[in-house]
């Protein structure tokens, strides 16, 4: 039997906002020797509910088990598994380049227009450029800026929202609210 195909997965985890949550989630990857490509943590659209987005290369059967094991954690509300087709996603990249080099190259126009980037801050010393997009887009700008003696580059973890019309977390929370009411009646 061929080993199952590896692909890039995005896992989103909705949880209570508690200390050590990231640790609880990341050890589940560690146990299976899965490298987390990137991770971002933020608030979600529901007050008090926290959202983690992680990406990793793996095969689907493994990831289905990982997601169930994440969901099993008591502090986790729901966890979901996606491939790139299921989601709209972006990353933000920042680039720091020396201002003199930038100006003498006359690249600013190209950077802003062609790459759709923004100048965040410009001092006589350095300029910080911001671009959000898919990894290959921020990567393309990085390559463009290499010739300008780029000093720093950083890219955020992926942020993603689903294309699905159904909001599964809301459904879960509604079910739990009904369960809680029933328990109160008892």
């Amino acid at each position: 039997m061929l080993p199952p195909e590896r692909q890039l997965f995005t896992v989103t985890v909705y949880s209570e906002n508690c200390v050590g949550l990231l640790n609880q989630v990341s050890v589940i990857f560690t146990r299976r020797c899965l490298n987390i490509e990137d991770v971002s943590a933020s608030a979600s659209s529901v007050p008090d509910i926290h959202k983690l987005t992680l990406t990793t290369w793996a095969d689907r059967p493994t990831m289905e088990k990982v997601v169930r094991q994440i969901e099993k954690r008591v502090d986790v509300i729901r966890a979901f598994l996606y491939t790139d087709d299921d989601i709209v996603y972006q990353e933000v990249a920042l680039y720091k380049v020396p201002t003199p080099r930038l100006l003498e190259s006359a690249a600013v126009e190209d950077i802003v227009r062609h790459h759709g980037a923004r100048i965040l801050e410009m001092t006589p010393d350095y300029t910080v450029i911001e671009k959000s997009g898919h990894p290959w887009e921020t990567e393309a700008l990085l390559n463009r800026l290499r010739s300008l003696d780029i000093r720093q580059f950083v890219r955020s973890g992926r942020v993603a929202v689903t294309k699905s019309p159904v909001e599964h977390v809301d459904i879960y929370l509604e079910q739990q609210r009904r369960r809680q009411l029933k328990l109160k009646d008892k």
Partner: protein
Amino acid sequence: MKQDNITNQRISGAEALVRSLLEAGADTVFGYPGGAILPVYDCLYDYADRLRHILVRHEQGAVHAAQGFARVSGRTGVVIVTSGPGAANVITGLSDAMADSTPLVVVTGQVGQQYLGSDAFQETDVVGITQPITKWAYQVRRAEDIPAAVARAFYIASTGRPGPVVLDIAKDAQIGTLDWLYEPVNFIRSYNPSPEIDTKLIAEAAEIINAATRPMILVGQGVTISGAEDALRNLAEKASIPVCSTLLGLSALPSDHRLMKGMLGMHGNLGPNINTNRADVIVAVGMRFDDRVTGNTELYAPDAKIIHIDIDQSEFDKTVRSTVAVHADAREALEALLPLVTDAGHNEWIDSFDRHNRVEDREVAAVELNRPEGSKLTMGEVISRVSEAIGDRAVAVTDVGQNQMMSARYFRFTRPRSFITSGGLGTMGFGLPAAIGAKIAAPHRQVCLFCGDGGFQMTIQELGTIMQYGVGVKMIILNNNFLGNVRQWQNLFYNRRFSQTPMLNPDFVRIAAAYGICGEDVSEREQLDAAIGRMLADDRPYLLNVRIDETDMVFPMIPAGSAVDRIFLSEGRIYNPDNWSEQ
């Protein structure tokens, strides 16, 4: 004798912890004091009449004792230890309880808040270390959070798939004060331990069962945990389905029930293992297809549609794919199935289990149990003699190794919650403290421990606990002067190179005597029954050190990673079920 739940009563965090434990239903705790938990121990002094504290001799023993307590009674076991080394010593037990779904609340003292993260004296990152091996681990830093944390801990530990929970309580939270108020928890937003049963799936499962010609039920500990023993029996009897058990599922159905066909897995019985690969339908209830049960999963149950019933969704399709996965409490699921199933007889199929098992009786059990005169005793002989003598209500506790597998094979179970053993983790040293906890939880049941000479010495200091509290545990050391189980593998797979498995042992009876515990050595077959008689004559603890043939091996055996129907009856002798003449 509960304290009144009055508000506006200023008490310390330590007292709030003790009162909260009482509110949560605890009456016994196992523990060991130290600096970071001293405020709690000071308070336990005042509550000694309501909360019984058992002082163990090592924190590992506290956890195993609490596990024995929990597994016999179905109640949540409670442990209290100090920070740093005390907390580090509970790791093995937590991991064991996690693997075997045992409800525990383990309270660890922690350094004061201002010292957290500073490598302070006896500070260790308890939550960080224990998170991956517990159901929930939580640090409490303020006195006023203690009652709610305890209530939550008990709720999490005991519901859904039970498991160990750690509460790491900073010392200043123990000292600080709060207005006493305890409210039980029965709801956590991020957690649903009682999923609603999907009736469509139940109907689908029933249809598959009713169409089966060769069905079998595999029971795991989930049946015991959910109290589904009657539901299991009713379903098996109504639909005439043979029942086989995992190691931890043993005693859910009495050994002599006509549909109980034995144990699954590496050292299981012939009928269950051979027929796993011949069944057309498998109903797996509260079990998780551990590799010791399945062997090679690619060759496992090739003809079977699998109906998997479990409270833990993450077990579905983890090692073995199911046709129908029912996410539910085992009892609820079995009760829902009952009216939908029909009796299809399956007589020939049921008989086929007995046919295989008869071969095992003759080729394996008879060899183990009927030794030539003058030969050394075997474990099987001792266990079956004790099992016969000890009567109906006994609890068998085991350690890990040959003693454990032989106990699973030769002890006869008549009642639920009668077999306490370390399954998922296989922790040597589990037996003695677990037996202590079991006896404390069930003082009116006989509790006997079957233990190896190796494992006994891993937690031997708990003889002190037996002495101090007069715990009437009957200890049987199956003494082969070897790490027998490892020896068996070296014998079969490593060219008889017995690397680091022979053991020079102390005089166990004299050690017991030093703890004021009676006991005797047994080396001859003729001595055995009388010695067992003396051991069971009263309620006191007793130790039998039985000299066992070190060359004896546990059979049948499925080598690790083989198909479950590739079974050795003895060394080099494979069972060929289709080509076996019944003499």
